[in-house]
């Protein structure tokens, strides 16, 4: 299964079959999730309507971490087995993960303004998400920094793995830093355990976000494969003209 898709043509054939299915599942899940989240679920007795922000915020934060793990695994596979598709998958995952991280930060900030009456607090979670965002940016910048795309892929793979080892250390140290500098003034989500009427749309939305990620990932990988083909054709043409 794993090595089967090392052949790009075989993968493209597979992707062409799977992609419409994933697209439809994503659309349906988003429709259901948004209906449950925005219309069918009750407003929170403390937070009012702003609680609905959570149905976007929490799944994007989950996806931000999920994408970074996926990125690290793809990079490890690319370095160890030199799997050609893993390089493309890693390169395609990074912008998606960075966008999810950005979305989580922005929605958190929009939610924080009415709730905490400030756009930003140096809360441990916010801070580690911000650092994660920088790790994504570093990966993408390094990937693009070389004239030879293969070299960029390898270097950034090493960086992604180094970053992956560091993520728990950064998380731990930020937690420590936060408890040392700031008393727990931040409103906690907790209170009563999450009620089923809120949990259901949250779960539907997170599955929707995951299938959305797979959908965009397929599109991006297909795009990368095609771009590589075009590049190879151009190079061949250029060398023929040179003779």
């Amino acid at each position: 299964m794993f090595h089967r898709f090392a052949n790009p043509t075989r993968f493209l054939r597979f992707a062409a079959v799977v992609q419409p299915w994933i697209a439809w599942i994503t659309v349906i899940l988003f429709a259901v999730g948004l209906y449950l989240g925005l219309l069918a679920s009750p407003a929170d007795y403390q937070q009012g309507e702003t609680v609905r922000m959570m149905y976007v915020h929490v799944p994007s934060a989950w996806m931000a971490l999920f994408c970074y793990s996926g990125l690290a695994i793809a990079c490890a596979v690319a370095l160890i087995w030199k799997h050609p598709l893993a390089d493309l998958a890693a390169k395609a995952t990074a912008p998606i993960g960075a966008s999810f991280t950005f979305l989580a930060l922005v929605t958190g900030s929009l939610w924080g303004k009415p709730m905490w009456s400030t756009w930003w607090v140096w809360d441990a979670r916010l801070t580690s998400m911000l650092v994660l965002f920088f790790l994504y940016l570093g990966y993408m910048a390094l990937n693009n920094a070389f004239d030879d795309p293969g070299r960029g892929a390898k270097s950034s793979s090493i960086l992604a793995l180094v970053g992956f080892v560091n993520v728990p250390i950064i998380k731990f140290s930020v937690d420590w830093w936060n408890t040392l500098h700031q008393p727990a003034s931040v409103v906690k989500m907790g209170g009563p355990a999450i009620h089923a009427s809120i949990l259901a749309p949250l779960l539907v939305m997170s599955v929707a976000f995951t299938t959305y990620y797979l959908w965009v990932l397929l599109i991006r990988i297909r795009r990368e494969v095609t771009a590589n083909k075009v590049h190879a054709l151009q190079m061949r043409q250029a060398s023929r003209r040179g003779q």
Binding site: D147, V165, I170, S173
Partner: protein, 221 residues
């Protein structure tokens, strides 16, 4: 081991010949810290409050500033390839480079730090722990930085890229380095922070030469 020492001796010789470079790092460190009183005002209490953080951040930046030279010069004149062809593991070569980087930047920074602590009005209890924390933290900075320096070999816009790669990874060292000093000034024990700093250093010693050597290999291909 003799090869390890000979690489260190060679690089130290080179650094001595261009003696100004290492002094420039210290000059940057001093100037960066001296800018803060102008920025936040000369109020002694405020300066004392922010002193550990300012000194640490400046140390981070100046240690990063000299990273670009770590492999770049050897990469450009081709001697890095010869160093990689030696009959020793590339990890050892990377480790030697890291040692030289620490000797030429980390150590001068530590020597300059007490002077800056006086200028920033750091309470006297904090001096000893600031030096110990820097002693434990700066080698980690050199080790992590070596990975970044090797990754950018042959890239466009190397220096600015390096800061984006390396600074997020420096955050844990910064947090524990500053909080160790803050703890002592606040009347607490600095032991947990210093132990964690040592733990990070030991982990970095084990892992960074390995990742750095992998990165150098990619650069030489």
């Amino acid at each position: 081991m003799s090869r390890f020492m000979s690489i260190i001796r060679r690089d130290l010789h080179l650094a001595m010949r261009q003696g100004m470079d290492s002094l420039m790092v210290v000059a940057f460190f001093v100037i960066a810290v001296v800018l803060f009183p102008f920025g936040v005002g000369p109020e002694p209490n405020i300066l004392a409050r922010i002193a550990p953080g300012v000194i640490w951040v400046a140390a981070l930046l100046s240690s990063m500033l000299s990273l670009e030279r770590l492999f770049q010069a050897d990469f450009e004149d081709g001697s890095l390839e010869l160093l990689a062809l030696q009959p020793v593991a590339l990890e050892i070569t990377v480790m030697a480079k890291v040692c030289v980087h620490w000797l030429t930047t980390g150590l001068p920074l530590i020597i300059a730090a007490p002077l800056l602590a006086v200028l920033m009005n750091l309470p006297e209890d904090g001096f000893r722990v600031l030096l110990i924390a820097l002693l434990l933290g700066t080698p980690t900075l050199s080790l992590i930085g070596a990975i970044g320096a090797a990754l950018i070999l042959g890239s466009r816009r190397g220096g600015i890229l390096l800061s984006l790669l390396v600074l997020p990874l420096y955050i844990p060292v910064l947090i524990f380095g500053v909080s160790a000093v803050d703890a002592v000034i606040g009347g607490f024990s600095d032991k947990p922070q210093l132990l964690i700093l040592s733990g990070i250093l030991v982990a970095a010693l084990a892992l960074c030469p390995w990742a750095g050597a992998a990165a150098v290999r990619q650069g030489l291909e």
